[in-house]
């Protein structure tokens, strides 16, 4: 019996496509002494890789997913394991046709070549066995293809072995993992123990079980994807090789059909969500087929049979074309499979504890499963497992008719129905939307709240902020290392700073309050907070001179902004909150009634005001105090629709995940300061280089000149649309980056719809005209602002009043 090496630099558990790819890429990056093990035999150990239908559609609404897909295809082509065949997403409904125009826009935004809309007749030409009368059209991508994933994995392993980097062992079962002092030490197997510095769990649907052995949790669940292979198909009798005909995605029925040799594979995401636990998956010996090919349950496929018959009656309706093979194939799905919001949507650090529970994973995966081919609105909300994190004033908000959206489990009011009376007051200034798509997950009340806040004041629930303190003698050094801006500031200063990766791209943007000589409080967005905390934690000094404490659930935050903010606050505090004694960008403890409150004078909405921090159990009392004082000054509740979109867009404030991401640098985002601090920080070298050169691209604010579509309806872009030249061509900077809308929303005080987009610096000129493509039509836009100069109140007179 073979034994495994007793030591390794890294152990990769799993020899599916992921484990093989990781082993290969580590080897390419110079890692040596790698050991890969799998419980099953090679080349097909029995996981999802062995039964996957293996096709790749390059266009996704997510920029990150599109980029990962493009790189995967490039690698598979290099390995000679990719067969291009083209693919068509077909539409049976007008709603889907609109969605396909959105696909076209995403293809243009992310630079996927040659995708185009095709008519039923054109589809018939490409796929003669389709019944074109049941479809309205399609989205054709010539670059679609299939990969031989088992072959690709074998080649990657072989290359890593050739480099002298890797040893792979099959039929090795992991029995346990030893963790000492929070670090992985060894992997215990039935063929001996392996000491390792790093262990990679790449076991797909089994990974929760493996992670548990190391005391970690990987929030994914094994789920069934049904597939039926029928044949032989007379029409494919002369087919050579794996695939020659375009793959069809029948989007409205959540199904696909692909030729495979002389057969036709029919797959579905339409059936009820069928979820398992890793413990339900049998060993190779106990499984009738492979461990992840569960017995096919025909009942769940009955409707799918009829749908596929409608689309391809010549093949599927042929009595002599018979089922060759049918499985309930096991895939692993994450609870946020549909996430399009977080650009770091592949980072496992994104998950909070409640998001790792089996309950949450199952509920969200079940809800997301049938949206696999769904028309998912950019603001779409989950229905399951809500009300996990509630602010202390949640009851007050409900009474005010709050409409809640979820961020990292928090229920955040996006607008308040109690403000609907403001609609009449502001009339057309709320920029009402007549099209259902743009009115979905939106309300004109958001714009009414915005306008009223600019007249009087608004109170905003900011409980979802992630807060953590950095303390200890090494706190300043840590803050300096992570933050671009100078952190050796007076106690009581509030610093808004970019956080960079080594290459000078954005890791985050956040606010740091200096609360003491050795005490900093980091305030960042709820969605990205976990990843920010991990980034800080990763930089902690080894000598223990600094600590990080998560205070997200210890403090709650309320914001009050508007011209009346000072009057509202003055009425309930004895502290001096005048402009002179409580300057912008500072924070201090003040008393509000019986509460000691940390007040921070900053603004993300462009008006005078403060963020107030109190222990979470005192939050309701603080809310009541501000609310009661505000009654005399026209205070209204204001939702995140204003805070996150309209208020910030008018002020050209950037958002992480929208404008700010690793692909762009500080100078391109227009966030460089005149001076740079002496102290070192992560990304400094790159940042200095970026400052020295002329930026390739520059972030701009554009306004839409004419919203009228060909049908005479006013349309409002929602984000991610391509920005085009006046003749409809793409705009690409010298680094190959395309211009697309990074954020979009109303600017009610300006009466405009504002789009942010990077533009090649030569084109980033105020007044320049371009087009934006939205749902298949093009609309004129004008550059209104270049760099970070706000469109509204450019002198910042309101904030500094």
């Amino acid at each position: 019996m073979s034994t495994v090496p007793s030591k390794a630099k890294a152990v990769v558990i799993g020899a599916g496509i992921v484990g093989n790819s990781i082993a290969y890429h580590l080897a390419r990056l110079g890692w040596r002494d790698l050991v890969q093990i799998d419980k099953g035999p090679l080349p097909n150990p029995g996981g999802s890789t062995g039964h996957a239908s293996n096709f790749i559609f390059p266009v996704d609404h997510s920029k990150e997913m599109t980029a990962i897909t493009a790189d995967s295809v490039r690698q598979y082509r290099e390995l000679g394991t990719f067969t291009q065949c083209g693919g068509i997403e077909v539409a049976r409904t007008p709603e889907r046709m609109q969605e396909l125009t959105r696909r076209i826009s995403s293809g243009k935004s992310w630079g996927v070549p040659d995708s185009r809309l095709v008519t039923p007749a054109e589809i018939k030409e490409l796929v003669p066995y389709i019944d074109e009368t049941v479809i309205l059209g399609g989205f054709y991508t010539p670059g679609v293809g299939v990969v031989d994933s088992l072959r690709a994995g074998t080649l990657m392993r072989e290359k890593a072995v050739e480099m002298g980097a890797l040893q792979t062992f099959a039929n090795i079962e992991v029995l346990g993992m030893d963790v000492e002092d929070g670090r992985i030490k060894r992997v215990r197997t039935d063929h001996g123990d392996i000491e390792a510095e790093y262990v990679v769990i790449a076991t797909g649907c089994w990974s929760p079980r493996l992670a548990k052995m190391a005391g970690a949790s990987i929030p994914l669940t094994p789920a069934v994807h049904q597939m039926k292979d029928i044949g032989p198909v007379p029409f494919f009798a002369d087919s050579r090789g794996d695939i020659e005909w375009p793959i069809i995605r029948d989007m409205d029925t959540n199904m696909y059909e692909r030729q495979h040799g002389t057969g036709l594979e029919v797959g579905s995401y339409a059936h009820r969500p069928i979820l398992y636990t890793p413990e339900d998956i049998p060993s190779n010996a106990l499984a009738a087929l492979s461990p992840t090919e569960f017995p096919f349950t025909q009942d769940d496929f009955d409707i799918q049979d009829e749908h596929s018959l409608e689309l391809m009656p010549d093949i599927i309706g042929d009595e002599n074309v018979r089922e060759k093979y049918a499985i309930n194939g096991i895939l692993s799905l994450t609870p946020d499979g549909q996430s399009e919001i977080d650009l770091h949507s592949s980072d496992i650090a994104r998950f909070r504890e409640h998001q790792k529970t089996t309950f949450h994973v199952k509920a969200r995966t079940a809800e997301g499963f049938n949206k696999t081919y769904g028309i998912v609105h950019p603001s779409e909300q989950y229905e399951s497992n809500r009300n996990v994190r509630l602010s202390p004033f949640n009851d007050r908000e409900k009474e005010l008719g709050a409409v809640f959206f979820e961020t990292a489990g928090w229920e955040r009011p996006f607008w308040y129905e109690s403000n609907s009376s403001l609609l009449a007051k502001f009339g057309e200034a709320v920029m009402p939307r007549t099209s259902e798509w743009e009115a979905r997950w939106w309300s004109p009340i958001i714009n009414a709240e915005h306008l009223q806040m600019r007249e009087t004041a608004g109170i905003v629930d900011l409980s979802a902020f992630a807060l953590f303190d950095v303390t200890g003698p090494g706190a300043l050094a840590l803050a300096q290392k992570v933050a671009v801006r100078q952190m050796d500031v007076a106690v009581g200063r509030v610093v808004y700073t970019p956080v960079l990766s080594q290459n000078g791209g954005f890791k985050s943007d956040l606010t740091i309050m200096r609360l003491g000589k050795d005490h900093f409080r980091v305030v960042t967005g709820g969605a990205h907070g976990m990843a920010d905390k991990k980034w800080f934690s990763d930089q902690l000094p080894a000598d223990g001179s600094a600590q990080i404490v998560d205070l997200t659930s210890a403090f709650t935050t309320i914001g009050v902004w508007g011209p009346k903010a000072r009057e509202i606050l003055s009425a309930i505090t004895s502290d001096d909150v005048s402009h002179e004694s409580f300057k912008f960008s500072t924070c201090k403890m003040i008393e509000i009634g019986s509460l000691r409150v940390l007040a921070s004078r900053i603004s993300y909405v462009g008006d005078l005001g403060w963020e107030f921090y109190v222990p979470i159990e005192q939050g309701a009392k603080l809310w009541d105090a501000l609310w009661n004082s505000g009654k005399n000054h026209g205070l209204i509740p204001v939702g995140i629709g204003v805070y996150g979109t309209t208020g910030r867009l008018e002020k050209s404030y950037r958002a992480y995940g929208g404008e700010l991401e690793t692909e762009y640098n500080v100078v391109e985002a227009g966030m460089q300061t005149p001076k740079i601090k002496e102290q070192d920080f992560i990304g400094k070298e790159a940042h200095l280089r970026h400052r020295a050169e002329k930026p390739v691209t520059t972030l701009c604010s554009l306004t839409v000149d004419d919203h009228t579509s060909s049908t005479g309806e006013k349309r409002y872009m929602l984000g991610k649309e391509p920005i085009l030249t006046l003749d409809g061509g793409p705009i690409i900077d010298s680094h190959g980056r395309r211009s697309y809308v990074t954020s979009a929303g109303s600017a009610p005080s300006l009466g405009k719809h504002v789009l942010m987009s990077y533009l090649p610096t030569d084109l980033a000129v105020p007044g320049s005209k371009f087009l934006v493509e939205y749902l298949g039509e093009q609309y004129p836009v004008t550059v209104a602002g270049v760099g970070s100069t706000p469109l509204f109140d450019p002198e910042n007179g309101r904030i500094l009043s």
Binding site: A285, L286, L289, F296, D305, E319
Partner: protein
């Protein structure tokens, strides 16, 4: 020509399988279900006879509610209707099973010309039900049939016993049990599946006899874990391969 085919829902196991904690049954938590392979030959034969001669093909099984899955799959291949004698999921002993089948056949208005079985069930292989049924109905029976021809109310059946071939003729109605080699069973088509959903399946409550046979326990035979043996690579492997082929009697 009215044909009846009797089926049994059986688990489809991998290279090994688990037993339940009391060792009385196969643990089916990881397993799918099908019918015994020889029964697939019986259904195929029934479908072909009805295609050639007209009439009807009826399926009959005794088993849990879930056995309807197996009936629907065979209806998709071409049977006309099915009868499910529903149990609470416990395996019935051969005597009780046969009595229930007899009761169901007698209750049928249809006079069956041919009652087909697989030679044995894939899980328990009792080789009893068909004989008991034939006896109870006073019908002739031919077992283990690999070839069958029906003309003028006479079935001519060929069975293989060791190295000899036996050929029998029996008048219909008769019970015939079949095995692999009789035909190549077809798989369902999608239109077949869709039609099968609309075909009638009668659920009946059979009379349960007190079991006379008690299953005490099962044990899993030790499997040959040696697995595949690599004889060599390329031309070098030829002599070793020839040896193996001689040993198993393929080469002289």
């Amino acid at each position: 020509m009215n044909v009846l085919v009797c089926l049994k829902r059986v688990p489809l196991a991998g290279s090994t399988f688990l037993l339940t904690p009391d060792s009385k049954d196969i643990d089916t938590k990881h397993l799918g279900f099908g019918i015994s392979p020889h029964e697939e030959n019986a259904v195929e034969a029934g479908v072909q006879l009805v295609e050639q001669m007209g009439g009807s093909l009826t399926l009959l099984t005794l088993g849990p509610t879930e056995a309807e899955e197996q009936l629907r799959s065979q209806l998709a291949i071409g049977a006309s209707r099915a009868i499910l004698l529903e149990t609470d999921g416990e395996d019935w002993d051969p005597q009780a099973t046969a009595a229930a089948l007899v009761e169901a056949v007698k209750a049928e208005e249809t006079q069956f010309d041919l009652l087909l079985f697989g030679a044995e069930s894939a899980d328990s292989a009792g080789y009893q039900i068909h004989i008991r049924l034939a006896h109870a109905l006073g019908l002739p029976i031919v077992t283990n049939v690999k070839s069958m021809k029906i003309e003028n109310g006479i079935a001519e059946c060929e069975r293989v016993v060791g190295t000899t071939r036996e050929i029998y003729q029996t008048p219909l109605p008769a019970v015939i049990t079949v095995r692999d080699g009789l035909n190549i069973p077809r798989y369902p088509s999608v239109p077949g599946r869709i039609q099968a959903r609309k075909k009638p399946v009668d659920h009946k409550k059979p009379t349960a006899q007190v079991p006379k046979l008690e299953k005490v326990s099962l044990s899993v035979a030790p499997s040959n874990t040696a697995g595949a043996q690599v004889l060599g690579k390329g031309a070098e492997a030829v002599p070793a391969l020839v040896e193996v082929l001689k040993t198993i009697g393929i080469l002289a």
